[in-house]
Symmetry: C3
Amino acid sequence: MKHHELSVSVSGQGLYDLTEDVRALVAAANCEDALVNLFIRHTSASLLIQENADPAVGRDLQAWLDRLVPENDGLYSHVEEGPDDMPGHIKSALTAVSLSIPVVDGAMALGTWQGIYLWEHRHAVLSRSVLVSILV
Amino acid sequence: MKHHELSVSVSGQGLYDLTEDVRALVAAANCEDALVNLFIRHTSASLLIQENADPAVGRDLQAWLDRLVPENDGLYSHVEEGPDDMPGHIKSALTAVSLSIPVVDGAMALGTWQGIYLWEHRHAVLSRSVLVSILV
Amino acid sequence: MKHHELSVSVSGQGLYDLTEDVRALVAAANCEDALVNLFIRHTSASLLIQENADPAVGRDLQAWLDRLVPENDGLYSHVEEGPDDMPGHIKSALTAVSLSIPVVDGAMALGTWQGIYLWEHRHAVLSRSVLVSILV
């Protein structure tokens, strides 16, 4: 089993496409049948598989989740790290920290419209770490 | 590692039980200790492990999620593919695209009340593809 | 592949830290590069990776999810097992039943602030079963 770290530059909330980075790691692994596991090493950013065609999907997802988990909600007691911190933890709890994608005949078996994204939930973070493990 | 494709016929929103299909693939694999990974190749349908006893659970889940993520919400800008499309993407983001289930002594170690379901989020799709990978 | 069962004592809703228990199983496995899969054998409790520093995060998560999925909601028809049962199923559907964490150089590659938790959604359950599988 081989692990690879993707260091992802981020600049604000939203989706960051990891598909080509993961595809390149799978190609380099030169395997036939495998499973790729992704794991994000943070508690206020997520992994997401979503539609890769219309950028409006990502914007609508962001707007909907922001409305569901607003900043400055009187319910939060954990507020020391800024108004986006506790919403980031909640958004992370509702989405994925790990994903497992089959590799068939040497390529990820994503559906036609599936892309792999990092979903950033905070405003001012600059970099995130994702571990990509290839199980043959 | 062996991959198998389940082609699942669907007809409207709701839960479709995959438990026996996955169980048959595990039995045919004839392994002792393993891990079964399920991956759904779509962005408006999900995988779910839920109670297998009372069908009302599935109906209540559907009704609750429909209320949380309604159609015809003025927030959506991605509306070209119908009123159920953007809600389908949001529902997919809130639920699972991959699941990993241990196989112990040749059988999936599901809890007594756990069934494996495909959760369809659209009205008019007819078929979905789920990949089942068995890691020994 | 080796499976281990964690029997987790619970007493009411909230987060129960499994990090040290899983760490001990990984250490005993004495492997270099691996993947640890966790699977919870229930439909009204979840697995969660969340911040391990401020206990207020867990309390805020619980309060927020209780507000999103209240008891005694007129929408539920599955009510025979108590007012916390259907909310428990919904909370379980919105969170994780399985998690896969990479093991790098013999240790789980969790981020600095990541802990592994069982998230109990019912009031009166006493014990939960989590399967820990180590894939080398």
